[in-house]
Amino acid sequence: MRKIALALALTLLLSITLLPARAQLPDFIQHTDCEVDLTGETITIYHFGDISGSFAFITQPLLAGLADAIAFYNANGGICGATIATDNRDTGGDPAQTQAHYDYYSTLDPKPDVMVLYASADAELLRTQVEEDQIPVIISAGSVEGLYGEDGRTPGWIYATNPLYGDQIGSFCDFVAADPMDMYADEPVIGYISWPGAFGQAAFTPETIAYCAEQGVTILETPEIFLPTDTDISGQVLNLTDAGANILYTNTLASGPFLVAKTVVDLGLEDDVRLAGVNWALDTSVGLLSRTSIGSDGLPAVNGIVGSLPFQWWSEVNQPGVQFITEQADANARELPTRNIAYILGFTLVDFYTELYIQTVNRVGSLDAVDGAAIKETMDNIDYSPLGMYNISFAGGELRAVTENRIAMMGFANADMSGLATSGDDALKIPRDDGTNIYVPVLVPLTDFAPAPDLRPGGE
């Protein structure tokens, strides 16, 4: 029954995006030409992260995206003929496991040329080690400490394909200050409520507070903290609203933003408080969890959450990259929960790997000659947009994170899939067995791509 419901949701989503299927690497994907034929070789994507813990909502779709992309690219020539493979390991969110897995990967013979990580905490833990072992690492988004060290000015070997978390809250403050849709109070006050640890606390720094204050947006001095496994955070939310917060910003994912939104609804504060968050907060996973808590307008609690969207989204159907990824997800019968942020990132990662290896192999002459240092050199100078979904450039090696960002808002599809629902009555509802409904989350970009402010410590 649940499967049928999801399939129904799927077909509805597809009805707006359906395009004739193509068998070849689409024309809009423009890789550098191969100068060396790698047929018979294998290039492995080494990836380890929290696949079963609190990041599972994100990491399992990531694996799906990787798998679908690898299948497609291998069927269409691989990387200059080389077969792409993956080697995934699960840490369950345990730092000891991270270290054990890293030891395993870093002592492989030959050593991995490049690895993929997921959690900021893992990046921070391994920062000095990957530098020592000369293994570049690709991570989706990171904290200043993980990418640039404690002083914020020492670029390491870890590269993020999304803007820094601190910079994301900076662009959010820009948005609040401009307030083009007149949704914020005259004196916006942000209460920061997040998980403890590297990821959750990454956006709460003296620099971000100072920057936002310059834009006329106050960030309350005392942040609130809850655990990924916490289940009642009404005390934390009330502490912030009592202190004057009218915006709650959360640097969490999946159940995190959902819990904040649910608590706001439970406490009846919907009209007083606006929700905002990091790029992970604007995700299908958050939208789907939220069906269990409905606000007074009849829509799930996270309706209207604002945050960063530094890449194209599923709903931007006139983008060729989006069309292509949607086709692929359809072809592999991926259900709605899998069609999220991480599927996009997993899929584009394979495309990025392809370009990264083509460029490196072209420069050094053979796959055997590719090592961590060679990949790093390519990475420093690359300027490439995987599937046209977002642009990856590290400014000649100066930067370790992409800076282009934009702000978007989450809403829910209306009954005829023509736009956003304004209330529970006209929303698209897919009934489930247990009496609840699934609402289909939709993201709406509110600004164009623009560089996020640079809020690393030590800047002028």
Partner: protein, 477 residues
């Protein structure tokens, strides 16, 4: 146990022989041989000279993984040895051992960062400091024992990380990771340079490094009237290796990795803000850098062996016998005139000291600390290691740690594909993706449970029995 069974012809003629740790020359030789082999391991990997040579003549080298694995086993063995002191000998349960290891790690890191202490001073100081904190939490042992004491240490396991995370945040970085300075032993400063400059003029200092296997540590200190200058390091050809802002009045250590990278001439340039008066001191010291390659191995393993010997020695002393008497019957011990409270506190002190030492070594070995490492899970893991290895045997700690480490490093990855191939098909409710994370607690719990039921005295006891069986072979008794 095994002590009573000896090769024929070996007799004690003096009391000192009776309590000697190694009774025969053979035992002594075995020990040195094992220690020597252990020290050879890094050299035999592909990164070591012998291993590289062996590999080049097609014999093959040891896996590089072993160096890290043995280092970790050695560090944990120290911590578990400490727990053994408390639990195995004195009979007091601790559920907070990981928190004490955390204190050691963080205090070592803070001493090195804030006070600039070299690691060979910071490590023992951190261990002592942890011992003192351990005393503090040992005080309830004066009123309560057994389960109540387990509760006190459980409280410690939560209170200590909280204190590290929140009130001490300025020192420990709270939830964020804490970078630990590289473990260095610095020698002569072979070049000194100091300059007073005004009005924002940049000043440069060129130095030529001595060709040697030692690393060079560039220490820059500034005093300035306004914002501290930025400092960059570049090569002769003008390639900038790094640029970093300085903090006034602090000893800024820069450029370790770059200097070690093989060029011979470097230029250090200070770029001040406009109209700033500043004074710049540059010192270049030669140093042994233990964070390089496998150098830390040669600190950790000998220290671990040393601490093992110390523990073995303590146990046969007056203190050790007092510990054991408290474990066996505390009331009787009191009646015999043993100051139970004092000895309990000593056990707490020693056990925390060991944990602190392990933590401090861990800090300098990994280079990055996170509070999430020192949780209740790790404490339970330590308990499990001790029980599996054999509480009350000096060798128990080492065996338990090795067993659990090998379990997670080799057995689980080997078991996973096998289980994945049939388990989800057999029991449809099991999700293959979840299996990997679930396997480690399941096997871990099973290992503890089985040992508790089948061999509560642990591997070390089994080992003793094996040794006796070997010695009296071919007779059964």
């Amino acid at each position: 146990m095994a002590a009573s069974i000896r090769p024929s012809g070996v007799f004690d003629t003096q009391y000192t022989q009776d309590i000697a740790l190694n009774r025969t020359r053979g035992e002594k030789r075995q020990m040195w041989l094992a220690f020597g082999l252990l020290l050879l391991v890094p050299l035999l990997t592909i990164e070591g000279p012998i291993g590289a040579w062996l590999n080049s003549i097609q014999i093959g080298a040891l896996p590089t993984l072993w160096v890290g694995l043995i280092s970790r086993i050695a560090i944990y063995a120290i911590a578990v040895q400490g727990l053994n002191m408390l639990m195995g000998y004195t009979g007091q349960i601790s559920l907070g051992h990981a928190a004490f290891m955390g204190i050691g790690a963080y205090s070592a890191a803070v001493m090195a960062r804030e006070l600039g202490l070299p690691f060979w001073v910071a490590v023992p100081l951190a261990a002592l400091f942890t011992g003192v904190i351990g005393l503090l939490f040992g005080i309830p042992s004066l009123r309560v024992k057994g389960f109540y004491l387990a509760m006190a240490t459980l409280a410690a396991q939560f209170i200590i990380p909280w204190v590290l995370r929140y009130p001490l945040e300025p020192l420990t970085n709270g939830s964020r990771p804490l970078e630990v300075p590289a473990p260095l032993i610095e020698f002569s400063s072979y070049s000194d340079y100091s300059a007073s400059v005004t009005n924002g003029t940049p000043s440069s200092y060129i130095f030529q490094r001595n060709p040697s296997f030692l690393s060079d540590v560039v220490r820059v200190t500034t005093v300035s009237s306004g914002a501290a200058p930025r400092v960059s390091v570049s090569t002769r050809s003008g390639q900038t290796l790094l640029t970093t802002p300085l903090t006034d009045g602090q000893d800024n250590v820069i450029g370790l990795q770059f200097i070690a990278s093989g060029e011979d001439i470097y230029i250090i340039t200070a770029e001040p803000a406009a109209d700033t008066l500043y004074r710049l001191d540059v010192r270049v010291n030669q140093a042994v850098n233990f964070s390089q390659q496998n150098a830390m191995y040669y600190i950790i393993v000998p220290v671990s062996v040393l601490m093992f010997l110390v523990a073995r020695n303590i146990i046969r002393s007056r203190v050790g016998r007092a510990f054991i008497s408290i474990r066996d019957n505390d009331l009787a011990a009191e009646l015999l005139g043993i100051n139970v409270f004092s000895y309990k506190l000593q056990a707490f002190f020693l056990s925390s000291l060991y944990a602190g030492l392990a933590g401090a070594l861990w800090a300098f070995d990994t280079g990055t600390l996170s509070i999430d490492k020192f949780t209740l899970t790790l404490s339970i893991e330590f308990l499990a290691m001790l029980v599996i290895g054999g509480a009350g045997f000096p060798l128990g700690a080492v065996m338990g740690v090795t067993f659990i480490s090998l379990l997670s490093q080799y057995l689980i990855p080997a078991l996973l594909p096998v289980l994945n191939s049939f388990l989800p098909a057999l029991l449809p409710f099991i999700n293959a993706v979840n299996l990997q994370a679930a396997l480690s607690p399941t096997l871990f719990g099973l290992a503890i449970a089985l040992f508790l039921i089948i061999e509560p005295r642990g591997l070390a006891y089994r080992w003793e029995i094996l040794k006796i069986a070997w010695k009296i072979r071919p007779y059964a008794y």
